[in-house]
Symmetry: C2
Subunit: 125 residues, 2 copies
DNA sequence: TGTCTACTTAGCGAAGTTGTTAATTAACTA
DNA sequence: TAGTTAATTAACAACTTCGCTAAGTAGACA
């Protein structure tokens, strides 16, 4: 789980953290302000924030005893880039996909995946 | 972690699983075919696949002793919808964001987040 | 029937996550 | 100096995840 994308997805896999990001999207906020809407302890919030920081989604600065947090979208852009491949499937742009399938499908049974010489029955659609 | 989006993000937070999705984006594949590129045991693959199935990202069918798997993009569409809010930050369409910030920022210190009556020093930028 | 292939389930251990409370650090304030 | 506020760290319990090996199920085929 050391790669950037995995870290980002893992950070996003929590409703509390996504809620915090949504709040930061509306503007900077301190740790207490981010904690307010949630019914969990400050240490728990602090740790959620650390997860977001480690994922590069949040940057903390200092202002006296406060720690204003700011949203950093670079990792989300990487998620968006990753999504591009799959977006073709649900945005109706099937042109490139269809072409892709036509190119890849015939290679299926010669790929490393098929370990037995036995042929699988092809179902006609 | 019971909500759909969290389950989807958690499923995506693993390079092996994302690799399997990428393979399925090129066309249907059996469990063995999905296992082939990875240096892990079949049971491990089977479980990764179950995670993807539980997230609704993969649908398994039956063909004799084979289990052809197919990509299901509905959960990815939901991720894409969730991304929409943040996409404004890195796609150069700052118009709505700027407007948003102008509306939200003045409310900051009257929000539930500030528990003390004490005013925080505002830094001029 | 017996064996092969494809795949899943069970059981284990190591490691990580998420919450808690209690204690600690750091900065402001009276 | 002493007290308050903001936030973090430490220590712990409950639970999940991810890998493994071994064993089990189910279909094809000789």
């Amino acid at each position: 789980m050391s790669d950037t994308l995995s870290t980002t997805f893992a950070a996003l896999a929590d409703p509390t953290r996504r809620s915090m990001l949504a709040q930061l999207a509306r503007g900077e906020a301190t740790v207490s302000e981010l904690a307010a809407p949630h019914a969990i302890s400050m240490p728990a919030i602090s740790r959620h924030l650390k997860v977001l920081e480690n994922a590069g989604l949040v940057v903390k600065s200092r202002d006296a005893q406060w720690r204003p947090c700011r949203l950093e979208v670079a990792p989300l852009r990487r998620v968006d880039d990753w999504m591009a491949v799959y977006r073709e499937f649900f945005e109706g742009r099937f042109d490139r996909l269809t072409e892709h399938l036509k190119t890849m499908q015939p290679d299926r049974d010669t790929s490393a995946g098929r370990r037995t010489p036995r042929q699988r029955k092809e179902k006609r659609s």
